[in-house]
């Protein structure tokens, strides 16, 4: 299937993979040769190349963010091409590679963002204390980037218009036999409780971490990751039905459509940003004892924790407004 958006996405994935694979190769070289004490030309060359790597990974992250959005958008737009598909869920379900491709995309997005947070801290310590950890992480990112490319190729090449796919109605309906269906079948009362509880926990952890200059970074990171998952579950379990005002419409993608005032962006953008921040704070926490960057990490942790608290409070607020203003009643 030849669509401009598919061409663009495959190009984006190829570019990301090439950048990250090349950066990882350089990382492997650097891990063997890195010697800060030397002012020799070899070390100078290595240090200079790190500028290229940070800029290129920055570009890869930007491309990844735009293409993540485009990937979901494109899946939604392609719905008219498949029998049974009404939105992104249907097209992602056309073959077995759609959802894995999306999940790997999201994972890669988060890891690339965390890498840039580490890079930011590293470049502020005169002894480059995070360099080894940073490049080791990059070595781990490379297979993920290649996996993303592979899944996406398989997904787009395997788009067969004759397939009758199932859409959000069946995937997220409580009767279907899938994990997603289990999520949809969660008692709204339970999901709301879970959502409220972890929301309070993550905001409290962020504020706590801010006052402690980042000493509880790992806690915030862990809670942030849980919160991310819980919020997605909550979207499927009760936020979506409230938005659509339909008790059996659980789709997390239709929220992005203009029919629903693009409310999905209001929800997902702060959620993704706050998760990046929480994970970033946790990733640099192990280096907080290094004298050259301890001040930088404390300052950064305070800033990111504040931002994460505000953004997550925004998520809670938006969900609250959705629930309060909806005409649907899930709870008696």
């Amino acid at each position: 299937m030849l669509r401009p958006a598919i061409l663009a996405l495959l190009f984006a994935s190829t570019l990301t993979s090439v950048i990250i694979a090349a950066a990882a190769l350089f990382g492997a070289h650097l891990l063997r040769r890195w010697d800060l004490r030397s002012g020799g030309e070899g070390q100078l060359r290595l240090e200079r190349r790190t500028y290229l790597v940070s800029t290129a990974v920055g570009l890869a992250l930007a491309v990844q963010a735009v293409s993540l959005l485009l990937f979901v958008y494109n899946a939604d737009r392609m719905a008219e091409l498949f029998v049974g598909a009404m939105c992104a869920v249907g097209t992602l379900n056309v073959n077995a590679y759609g959802f894995p491709a999306l999940q790997v995309r999201i994972a890669l997005f988060f890891l690339a963002a965390v890498w840039l947070v580490m890079n930011h801290v590293d470049s502020r310590g005169y002894d480059y204390p995070l360099t080894r950890a940073k490049y080791a992480l990059l070595l781990g990112l490379a297979p993920l980037a290649l996996l993303q490319l592979y899944l996406e190729w398989r997904y787009f090449l395997g788009l067969n218009p004759d397939v009758i796919t199932s859409c959000c109605g069946s995937l997220f309906s409580a009767e279907a036999e899938a994990v997603t269906a289990d999520l949809a079948a969660i008692e709204p009362r339970l999901a709301m409780g879970l959502f409220a509880l972890s929301g309070v926990a993550v905001i409290a952890a962020a504020l706590f971490n801010r006052r402690a200059d980042g000493r509880h970074g790992l806690l915030l990171g862990g809670l942030g990751a849980i919160w991310f998952v819980v919020t997605l579950v909550a979207v499927i379990a009760f936020v979506s039905p409230y938005v659509y005002e339909h008790p059996h419409h659980h789709c997390p993608f239709c929220l992005l459509k203009p029919e629903y005032g693009y409310v999905g962006y209001l929800l997902y953008l702060p959620l993704f940003s706050a998760t990046v921040m929480a994970l970033g704070v946790a990733a640099v926490r192990p280096f907080a004892a290094v004298p050259s960057v301890s001040g930088v990490i404390a300052r950064l942790s305070r800033r990111l924790s504040t931002a994460a608290a505000v953004l997550n409070a925004g998520v809670v607020l938006i969900v609250g407004i959705i629930v309060a203003t909806s005409n649907l009643m899930l709870l008696e």
Partner: protein, 375 residues
């Protein structure tokens, strides 16, 4: 601090671009043309898809054709009763339409009996394309030679509005009596039958039942036509874009070459900046801002050009490539639309390749030795 610095850098980037506007002009022109070409294709196909969607929105959900020996044949009136009462069908009717080849302008017309509009005998309503081709206007008489050789004079009652001319250009609406006489169309027969189905989810069920009731018929679903149209347009668009990707690639090499071929003066300038206290990442940021500003200009200009090309000048350069199944090229104006999805796609296949292409040369320039100016 961060934004303060970026403001200084943007300011300086603007002044650097301005100082070397001659050097950047060629790049900007090529860049703009690349964006304009890609954007034209995308805007045009999207508009065509929109037209098709709009057009089909008014058509019935199911069309039933009768097949004889695998060929499309006329449908006897009785079929309407044989369908009987199928659940979910709101309305059923027979349609009369056909094609007529007009040798004087070497074009095919679509003759049709409109189901809702009443047309008096001897009159005709024609599409803009026919009116243009024959140089006729309202009140004129259109003389057509029928299938048995007699000449039929039709008085033009009205000309269809140009709103969705893509479809109505070659349309000719006549009365049922005229239609049957003109074509010697057997009485009691229709070209095909149409059904309106209330609930779109039941369309497939309805089609299955009809296939059972009328074994020699072929139901055609609107959603299927829509899907075929959409993938056909997508496929054509993709084909043209793939061809254009070669141009994007060439442009990438051009941009790389431009970025790598810095003049001695520019190299000296970077050296001076580094010597007086600019850091490598400041220089990289400066160059990225320059690239971003160039991209912004090229993107906006290119998109604007494409917009004008498609919506004001009716995509003159693309018509033969993407449209064309009729001889009567409609001179239609497409409904303008700007779409975030499209912009993101366009961004990924123009700005991102450009940025990727200049990345390495830009870095090479930025890591110049700060002590070079002292040597």
């Amino acid at each position: 601090m961060f934004w303060g610095r970026q403001r200084y850098l943007i300011d300086f980037a603007l002044s650097s671009l301005w100082r070397r506007k001659g050097r950047h002009l060629l790049l900007l022109v090529v860049y703009t043309l690349v964006v304009a070409a890609l954007a034209s294709v995308m805007l045009f196909t999207e508009a065509l898809k929109g037209e098709a969607r709009q057009l089909l929105a008014g058509t019935p959900e199911v069309v039933i054709q009768r097949m004889v020996a695998g060929r499309h044949d006329l449908v006897p009136e009785q079929y309407l009763e044989r369908i009987g009462r199928v659940r979910g069908v709101r309305k059923k009717a027979g349609r009369l339409w056909g094609y007529y080849y007009d040798p004087t302008v070497a074009a095919n017309y679509t003759l049709m009996v409109p189901p809702e509009r009443h047309i008096a005998e001897g009159s005709v309503v024609v599409g803009e394309g026919i009116a243009r081709a024959r140089g006729a206007s309202v009140g004129d008489v259109l003389a057509l030679r029928s299938s048995v050789g007699e000449v039929f004079p039709f008085r033009i009652d009205a000309i269809l509005s140009a709103e969705s001319e893509l479809v109505s250009a070659d349309l000719m609406l006549v009365s049922e009596v005229d239609f049957r006489r003109f074509f010697h169309f057997p009485a009691g027969h229709y070209t095909d039958l149409v059904l309106e189905v209330a609930n779109p989810r039941e369309v497939r069920k309805v089609a299955e039942k009809i296939a059972l009731a009328l074994p020699d018929s072929r139901p055609i679903l609107r959603e299927e036509i829509l899907r075929t149209y959409a993938s056909l347009f997508d496929w054509r668009e993709g084909l043209v874009l793939t061809a254009l990707l070669g141009a994007v690639f060439a442009f990438g090499i051009f941009a790389w070459d431009r970025a790598a071929g810095l003049s001695a003066e520019e190299r000296r300038e970077i050296g001076v900046l580094k010597a007086v206290g600019w850091e490598t990442s400041d220089v990289i940021a400066l160059k990225l801002w320059e690239g971003a500003l160039v991209s912004l200009c090229a993107f906006l200009l290119g998109y604007l050009l494409a917009y004008l090309h498609v919506f004001t000048f009716s995509a003159g350069a693309l018509t033969p490539l993407l449209k064309g199944w009729a001889v009567l090229y409609p001179q239609f104006t497409l409904a303008p639309q700007v779409d975030l999805f499209q912009l993101a796609t366009l961004f990924l296949i123009t700005v991102v390749p450009y940025t990727a292409a200049i990345l390495i040369p830009l870095w090479q320039a930025a890591v110049a030795d700060p002590d070079a100016v002292m040597r």
